[in-house]
Structures are given as C-alpha cells and as structure tokens.
C-alpha cells in the first residue's frame, strides 16, 4: 500500500526493492537511517544474495531495522551486534553477515566488541551510523559528539576537558590488520548515496572472497536530536561534522600486484 | 578388597604428588574398581603445597573430599604436620626420609620412612623419588595389581616422557624392595 513506483514515462526509475518490506519507516523526517537501509537492501537485491544474507540490528534508533529489511535478522544487545554477527558468521561461514550500529552502540558500550571483531578480521560488513548523538533515548551526548556540541547531557556544549574527546573509532580500527576495507561515507546528496552504494557493494564482494572485516561509516544527521529542521541539519553536518569526520576511504585493500606473466 | 581405601598424597608442587595419585587411581580403574582423585588446586604450580586425595573402592564412592585417611604419603614437613593427626588408627604414614625433620610421634599407626630422594639420586634422576615412594606404598598396601601400575604409568606419563618409563619402573621396584627390607627389620 505504501509502494511507490516512479517512472519517467518510459521506464521505472524508482521502486521499492524486494529486499525491503512493505512497512513505512518510523524514522524522523530527514533522518539518514532510512536512506542507508534502502541503499543496503538495494545492494543485497542487486547482488542476488537475499537468501544468503543475515543482518544484526543494534540497540538504538535502528533497533527495528528488521521490520524493514526483508532478510533473516537478529536484534542484538546494546553494543554486542558485532559479537552476535561473529557467532552467526562462524557457524554459517558461507552466508553474508552484516551488523548495523549507531555511535553509542558501536563506539561506547560496544567498543571492546568492535575492536576485537575487527582485530580478528571477522569476515563481515560492519555498518556504522555516526550522527554524534543518542537519538533513541532523546538526544544525549554520544562518544562521537563534537567538542562544544549541545545535547541533553551536555547542555552547555561538550566540554572535552570533562567528558573526553569525540572518538574517531573508524580511524582507530583502520589500524588493525583485520580491517580490510574501511571507508567513511554519507547520504546527504544523491552523489553521496551513489558512493555509499559502491562501498556496500565492494564490502559484500570482499566478504565473498573472505577478505576480512569491511567497515563502512556513514556520517549522518539527526534533525530531532540536534533540534534542527532536516535542511538545517544537513548544513550543520557539512559545516561541523565533515571537517572532523572527513569523508572518503580510510583503508583500501592492497592493490593486487600485477602478475609476472 | 572389601573396604574403600582412602589416601592422601602431600608435599610440594613439582614433586610428582598429583601423578602418584593418578597412577594408583588409573590402575584401580583398569581393575574395575571405583576411584576418585581430588587435587588441591590453586595458583601454585611449582614449589607451593600440593596434595591429592585418592579413594579406591569396591563400591560407589560417596564423598571425594574427606578428612580422615587410611594412608598418608608425605613429602614435606608441613604436610606431615597437617596430615599426621588425620590418619585413622591402624593406618599408614609413609614419608620421604630426608624431607622430614620432626618424625611422626603417633604410635597407633604404622610409620615408614623411605630414603627416596637419596635412592633417586643414585639413579641420577631425583624426579623419580615419587615412584620409589609409590613402589614402597604398594608393597605395604597392595591395593592394585603391579602390572596395572605399569599400564597406568604409560597412561599418566605424557608421551614426551615415555622414554623414562624403564627408569620409573626401576624406581617402583626399588621402592618395593626397600619396603620389603623394612618389613624384615621391623
């Protein structure tokens, strides 16, 4: 009933992939989650791996990701998505497994699991949504909240002297030998969405080749948590988040050395 | 064997206390008897106190942890101080002679001092002192068939030490002889 198909009069240019359920997203208007969900599921559909993909949802706004993604999914305890994903991948090594976590989940309560999952080079895709705030619980300070950022638990702005610094977990884990492909993307423009799609596609292809952990950070916005309109939030993200969390590849797979023959 | 036999092996870690107990337990098991082997366990690996309780029984064993023993095989002074009072009247205290300064004072138990370390050094391998003690104990209390002790030895000794089996057998026999000689003189 919510299925929208858009054509340009000649061909279909936009429709719901089969890998998404017919359920309206509950996410706030302007939030990046729904776009990331869609892009991820488009890739799963295009690669034809719906039957072989298992996702792990976190605790946070995307706790209900399994309501939208039309694949087998598990909902993990707070911070433990990558441990649960490890459990799944180890017993079903031929399946495609991804975890999907926010900043509080992945970079605060689940830091140990994040680092050790990547350090083991678990052959999974870890999707990390960084919007620098705890959205689900109502806008509290996150480990990735920027210096001076106002949240409900840093009402005078994040004071790094007292609360520590915004953590660049993606750069951190990129140091680990188990990390095969590490990139930071966003979904605020059509171009960015296309790049993210490429990143997810590459990650699943690497997983098929047993290359180790692919880690895709998506710098995203939280209009409700940031107390802004969607449009303001995009501008704020561009002006404040991107300088600190610059977009682009952080660790690329080593180039295959050309064959001697 | 009509009654369970309850033994404490005690000394320092590294003296082979736990394997003495295991060998008897293993041999008894081969004979179809009920056995339990309960070690003291803890952070001490070498040099700390170590002991194990072994029960060999014709019937199902109740508690593997007990406080009164039919026999005590003792390899250091603190263990003798601790376990001398725990031996049942009529029981056996068998100890390594050079490791004990203050001899047992009880006269309602059988006491046997074996110069196991001295004899082991004569064999150029002081690690087999425990086997000399074990041989002596088995002479005094033939709980299990000697052939099965040899079988147990193969099971308990790690593979990498199997070249030492002949030496261990020699030590066991030596212990038996010493105990026999003691029997004659007493």
């Amino acid at each position: 009933m919510n299925d929208i198909t858009i054509t340009n009069g000649l061909e279909v240019v936009y429709k719901r992939p089969k890998t998404l359920t017919d359920t309206p997203f509950h996410y706030c208007p302007g939030c990046g989650h729904s776009v990331v969900h869609r892009v991820l599921m488009e890739v799963v559909e295009e690669l034809g791996i719906q039957e072989k993909t298992i996702g792990v949802a976190p605790v946070g706004c995307s706790v209900f990701a399994y309501n939208y993604m039309n694949i087998d999914m598990q909902e993990a305890a707070h911070g433990r998505a990558s441990a649960a994903a490890t459990g799944i991948k180890r017993v079903l090594p031929d399946r495609f497994v991804f975890s999907y976590q926010g900043d509080g989940d992945l970079a605060a309560i689940g830091t140990a699991e994040t680092i050790h999952t990547v350090n083991r080079g678990e052959n999974i895709l870890m999707v990390f949504i960084n919007n620098a705030i705890y959205g689900m619980t109502g806008g509290q300070m996150a480990p990735t909240s920027l210096s001076g950022q106002i949240t409900s638990t840093s009402p005078y702005g994040r004071d790094t002297q007292k609360t520590g610094y915004p953590i660049k977990i993606t750069e951190l884990i990129a140091q680990l030998p188990g990390a095969f492909y590490v990139t930071r993307q966003s979904v605020h423009t059509a171009g960015a969405v296309r790049k993210l799609k490429k990143a997810f596609t590459a990650a699943f292809e690497y997983q098929k080749l047993n290359k180790g952990t692919s880690f895709v950070e998506v710098v995203s916005n939280c209009p409700a948590g940031w107390k802004m309109t969607p449009k303001e939030s995009i501008t704020w993200m561009e002006e404040n988040m991107f300088p600190f969390y610059p977009l682009g590849d952080i660790k690329l797979p080593p180039k295959e050395s050309p064959s001697k023959n | 064997m009509q009654q369970p036999h309850e033994i404490i092996f005690a000394g320092f870690g590294g003296q082979g206390i736990l394997s003495m107990g295991q060998i008897i337990a293993y041999a008894a098991m081969i004979e179809g008897k009920e056995v339990s082997w309960m070690p003291s366990y803890g952070p001490e690996m070498r040099g700390g106190t170590a002991n194990c309780i072994v029960i060999v029984s014709p019937v199902r064993i109740s508690s593997p942890i007990i406080t009164r023993f039919d026999s005590a095989i003792v390899l250091n002074q603190p263990s003798l101080d601790k376990f001398e009072p725990a031996v049942k009247p009529g029981g056996l205290i068998l100890y390594e002679k050079s490791s004990i300064i203050k001899e047992p004072s009880r006269n309602d138990v059988e006491v046997l001092a074996i110069p196991a370390l001295e004899e082991a050094q004569k064999l150029n391998k002081k690690q087999v002192a425990n086997m000399i003690l074990l041989g002596a104990f088995l002479e005094k209390r033939p709980l299990v068939n000697y052939d099965n002790i040899l079988k147990a030895l193969k099971k308990v000794l790690p593979e990498r030490h199997h070249h030492l089996i002949p030496l261990n057998e020699q030590a066991l026999l030596l212990g038996k002889q010493i105990a026999t000689a003691e029997n004659m003189t007493v």
Binding site: A83, G87, R90, A112 | I30, Y41
Partner: protein, 367 residues
Amino acid sequence: MESKAIEKEARLMKGNEALAEAAIRAKIDAYFGYPITPQSEILEYFSREMPNRGGIVLQAESEVASINMIYGAAGAGARVMTSSSGPGISLMQEGLSYIASAQLPCLVVNVSRGGPGLGTIQPSQGDYLQATKGGGHGDYHVIVLAPASVQEMADFVFDAFRLAEKYRNPAMILTDGALGQMMEKVILPEEGSLPKKTPEWATTGKPKWRERNIITSLFIQPEEMEKINLALQKKYELLKQEVRYEEFQTSDAEVVLVAFGLSARICQKVVELGREKGIRIGLTRPITLYPFPEKIINRLAKKIDFFLVVEMNAGQMLEDVKLSVNGICPVHFKGRMGGMIPSPEEVLEEVEMLLEKHSISHDMEVK
C-alpha cells in the same frame, strides 16, 4: 582381574575435560569462551581437540562477547555452548536474559568458585540463586542441572542440550571447581548420538518460500510483551515434568539431608557415617535445580522429623526447600562459604546436635 570391556570404555578424566569431551561427542557446532579459573581446561580442551574433530572454538575478548556470540550462533540454528565461573557468569547475565527472551537453546556451564567479588578460586555453590532465579533482568528461568560426579559432568551435557532444544530455552550446568578439577572413572556418551537438525525458526538466510526469520527480545508493545511472558511462564510450567532428583535411604529416615552437587557427595558420606551410628538418616539430591523437585520434598516433609539443608553457601537452595516444605516440618541449615567445603564429620555433628535438640523439645511436649 582386569576387565577388557571396562578398559575399553572407561576413562579417568577430570570433570572439566569429561564435560568438554562430551560436548564434542554431542557435536556442538561452536564454543565461545574466555579463560577463568577453575574452568580454563574446558577452553583448552576444545582448543586442542576441535581443530582435528570439527566445530568452532573461539576465545572471545570477554564473557560479554562470548555470550553474545552464543546468541548469534544459537539464533543461526547452531548447537553452541560457553563456560565460565562466577565473575564471568555475572557478566553473561544480560546476554542470558536476551537469550531466554528470544527463546534460544544453548548451554552455559558455571564451574563455580567462592564469591562475592573476585573471591577465591576454591569451589562454592554461591551462584545457586543467580542460576535458578533467572540471574539477569526480567521474568525468566534457565534450566539448571547440577552434576555430582565426573560421569554426570559428561552425561548432563547431552541432557542439557536435549532439554534446551526441546524447550527452546538456555540450559545451565551448575557445578563447582572441585568437580571440575577432580578425576573419576567416566564412560563417555557415544559420539553423534544426540540428534540434531536446524530449527525452522533460525536465521540461516531467507529462502523465497518462507517469510524472514527474526531473532529478537524486543516486543515494545506491552500487550505483546505480556503475551511473550505468558508463553514463557507456560513453558516453565511444562518444564516441571523434567524434574530429576536422587534419593538415598530416605524410606525409613527420620532426618533427611538435602544437598546438590558436591555437597550431595559429602552428604552421602554423612548418611554412611550416620547409619553406622544407628541414626535413621537419608539424603535427597535435587539434580534439576530448576525446575526444583518440590513435590518429593513436600512428600517427605510429612513423614520425617526434620530436614537439614547442606550447601556451600549462606543458604540459597534453603529457600526453595522451605517453600516446598511450606511449614510442615522444621528445616535446618548447615553451610560453609567462601570456598570452604563442609566435612562429613562436621555435618554429622550438626545432625547429632539437632537430634538432641529435637528430642529434648519432644520430651518437653510429652511432659
């Protein structure tokens, strides 16, 4: 003298190793764990054996990670287990609550040590309440089996998986450091004799012919959450048919000891010693701690003078015994804590002291 058959089948093994070997014979798909005394032999045994015999063994970064790997793998339909001791089991409680709510079968082994806190590595039964009353948040229970011998350390691995898979519920083997470290004769269950099939609810990848499978413990509508709770409670009611216990010389007993695990072994000795002295004493040993054998305790209460509950804790199973007895007869308690083990002699002394007290009060009633 030597029996060929016994030599072939029987092995002398440590409790921890017998348990691990039984798990391999139960064809577990994976073990996730973290070292902690006095159970590290379990992880070591798997690390040594599984590369040659199949199955996954993974040393996780913490018990928190272990239990969540269990969640993931059990949700994916695998037969999985972890093991730890008190401090690590405490860390697993969050995960266990999720596993119970998502109704996933798995085995958790607690080789208990003395607490609270970092405590001691010596054996204890101080985790009884944590094990039997849920342990984590919410209304749930774990099936709890308490072995009292090396043989049962092995056998209960099979029983635990059988129950866990039948009821889609986590099962726990609650044992202690002494049973883990001691060696006894054990005849191991036959390899591969526990049937296994991938459950239809598992997240193995969604084929076209079925709807997607979801493993979750999140039911945000209270009406739905209550339904889940009602279903769980119904399951726990059903579980009562799985109650197991063992009795020693209770038929003519005036005094009955109640003890589980290692304490029950000690109490068997107390019964032996007491009977030698002419005391009409028996022992009831709960084998399933959850579900608890309340009926047999209640039945005995009507015909004996009193119970003496013996535990290596401050009186935890005591609460379940008292609830089962429901005031019908006196229930006394003898316990040691912090890794201390009650000796058969001191328990017998307690029995004799209580007998004297009871006979005095009985005399006074007569007068």
